[in-house]
Point group: C2
Amino acid sequence: MKHKYIYLNVAQKLANQIRNGVLKKGDRLPSIRGLCDEYDISMNTAKRVYIELESESLVISVPQSGYFVSSANYSDYPLPKASNPMLLADSDVPKDIINKVYSNIGSKNLTLFSINALYGEFLPTNQMKKEIGLAIKTLNNGGVDYESVQGSVNLRRMIASRSSTWGGNLTEEDIVTTNGSINAISLCLLALGRPGDTVAIESPCYPGIFQLAIDLGFKVLELPTDPVTGVKIDALREVLNEIDICLLISNYNTPLGSCMPTEHKKIVVELLAQHNIPLIEDDVYGDLNFNGKRPTCCKAFDTTGNVLWCSSISKTIAPGYRVGWVSAGKYQDKIIELKLIHSISSPPLLQEAVASFIKSGKYEKHLRELRRKLFANYQKILDIIINEFPQNTKVTRPEGGLSLWIEFDEKVNTIKLYDLCIKEGISIAPGRMFTVQKQFQNCIRISIGLPWSNDVEDKLKRIGVLSKKAF
Amino acid sequence: MKHKYIYLNVAQKLANQIRNGVLKKGDRLPSIRGLCDEYDISMNTAKRVYIELESESLVISVPQSGYFVSSANYSDYPLPKASNPMLLADSDVPKDIINKVYSNIGSKNLTLFSINALYGEFLPTNQMKKEIGLAIKTLNNGGVDYESVQGSVNLRRMIASRSSTWGGNLTEEDIVTTNGSINAISLCLLALGRPGDTVAIESPCYPGIFQLAIDLGFKVLELPTDPVTGVKIDALREVLNEIDICLLISNYNTPLGSCMPTEHKKIVVELLAQHNIPLIEDDVYGDLNFNGKRPTCCKAFDTTGNVLWCSSISKTIAPGYRVGWVSAGKYQDKIIELKLIHSISSPPLLQEAVASFIKSGKYEKHLRELRRKLFANYQKILDIIINEFPQNTKVTRPEGGLSLWIEFDEKVNTIKLYDLCIKEGISIAPGRMFTVQKQFQNCIRISIGLPWSNDVEDKLKRIGVLSKKAF
């Protein structure tokens, strides 16, 4: 992506060199004057390049010495291995752990590494307060009336217009709003299948997804998943005759953080269409790319109406608003019917506030800042995990999203680690939460959505220390 | 109920005489001075008595002549007969009609007699705008964060404190908030049963309920229902061995408007508890009593945790907020787990605004006014149906709620009537919508939630005229 501002273009070149490992941690960077000569830019522009890179935590300025690469790219550091779940296994949903961890939502006394949400300065709280104030005035009757079942037309228009950012070409008519993304997925499952059907999911997988599927009477089949490229296409190919629905978090999924390459997306969409297996695509993290490129969606390659693209603003604007949506292709009428049956309609006030925030251009501005801040946060968290956690710890290196997946030594029991952590006011998400099989007992998911602070730093380090006692 | 104000006590006495038929339409009432003597009250108080009765449309003042009873009590006018559905019937959900009627929600070009909601001046729109503005400020982070799964503690506290109005004794811990009442019912059905189970419902029944049940794989069994006293207890007794769940709208249900007498509620609760059949009680209309007495709930007689009491503010404050709740007795943990699975949590902002509205005392004040206004509206609508609709039309006389159930001559086909009406900008709800059996083809439901206007009056009269052509 080419930026309008010269300083951003230069900053991106340097950032890429750091991320690719061309420039390594501790490397000295050109002086301001050196940068002017090298890129033929002014002193002011050169200064802004380093301010930008510092804000992304990629560069530190050492007084009297100059600029240095602050963050290693850690490309040599080991990644967790791709998962290898059993093809046929009785589902054993770890309800106790899931309920225990989610009961921490909203707690004021815990440092919530366990909840995959943004907190504090990462959320545009004050801006949204203004948008709500505005929406009360502009909305017919201040939003007390029932809204049409399909949802706010202003919001649907904005979602449609933004679909070009991921290669889509939607219109407002293609979208139905929902109470968050999980509600969209719930409607999709109800629309597509019936009890006894089998849903293929990633492994590890966001527990909300398999709990929902199993609760509705579906069987789930966990697919081998790579921490970088997502679901293994060959594995999917092998089970095509055994599954009725496929459900994937295509971009920066949780907990792995993997992002399906565009080529994989194309293949998966074609494969599933050929076999008449609908694909539910959950894209809630798609806007949270750390680098300049917003990834594509499977929906962009959907020529048959077979992909049901679900998303929300819970991971970018306001989890508490419960504003999500689905573009359900050929299943749209059924989705509208089900939305009516299960909840009649959605609150217009919150949708209107979100629509206006997007329309004003403030959402894109917020996203640009959020991506930078999140990436800086991620770097700091990664630094501590790599440098201070026990030596044979492995960790993912996602290019966006909110999750880090940490694999401890095989002997570590992260359910015990959860108990040790909670005593110190720290909430983590044990790996066992993310599967219906007996696996990932030595893994945890860490959210990067808590803004950096001394408390976050201290508590994060404590997880590493406590992991040595969790056997 | 004894009022604090003398004029309200006197007004109520006169109102009761009018409603009981002691005073009949056209009867002359005492003069102001006559009233002073009769009740030993001041001139000012006597004047306020008549202002009150006029505001309820029970009395009209004829200049130079005095005060007269304006509304007949119509006790001789025939009621629709109690329903008599088949015990075992294949469910035939009239999807096309239901979808057609509900697609009118939010339409600006139609007069919506079909939607059971309050409109315009009946809703406390301006007050709620202020409450939202306040909630943005008082709520932590203006409501952008995830809320605890159980829901706003302030709202739960208010619901619990108001439970004394219907004989309940709930605490905030007994309540889980939901996205409207239908979402509460959806969670209850998911918690209580599994596909194949049978749910007993009223007949006719709110279509949202049987659609939901059937969509989740349940069978529904329609019970004979009386337009005054609700579900027939003897009929329920006969099917106790065939049903797994019972679901009733106990107070001013829709479409019939029936209200179960307290004694019936007690019997039903005991009967179902003995047979270990959970009762889902939908009480969304309970606060909309036209007279002084708010009816009890089945939940008030629940000693075993077997009653799941569901309600919302959709019929009193703001349908568009989607704020509802359930007090689920012994099933509460399961409900919390399911809420997490299906929607994570609810929007805190809207719940907080409602909680504050109730806490300030403005809700009770609003209810008092709303009850009066609704009753006046009901009287006007009833007058037209009785005096201007074809002669052998029957109509319910509910003591609260939002619905009138009209039974036309047997030859009238109300699906055809719907089509005739819609061409003239009128939306009605055909009787077939409210059953999964072949019945009620000559019935319609009319909502009284549209404030009186020339348009409402004209369109209502047109329904009567058009019914003569709908064969």
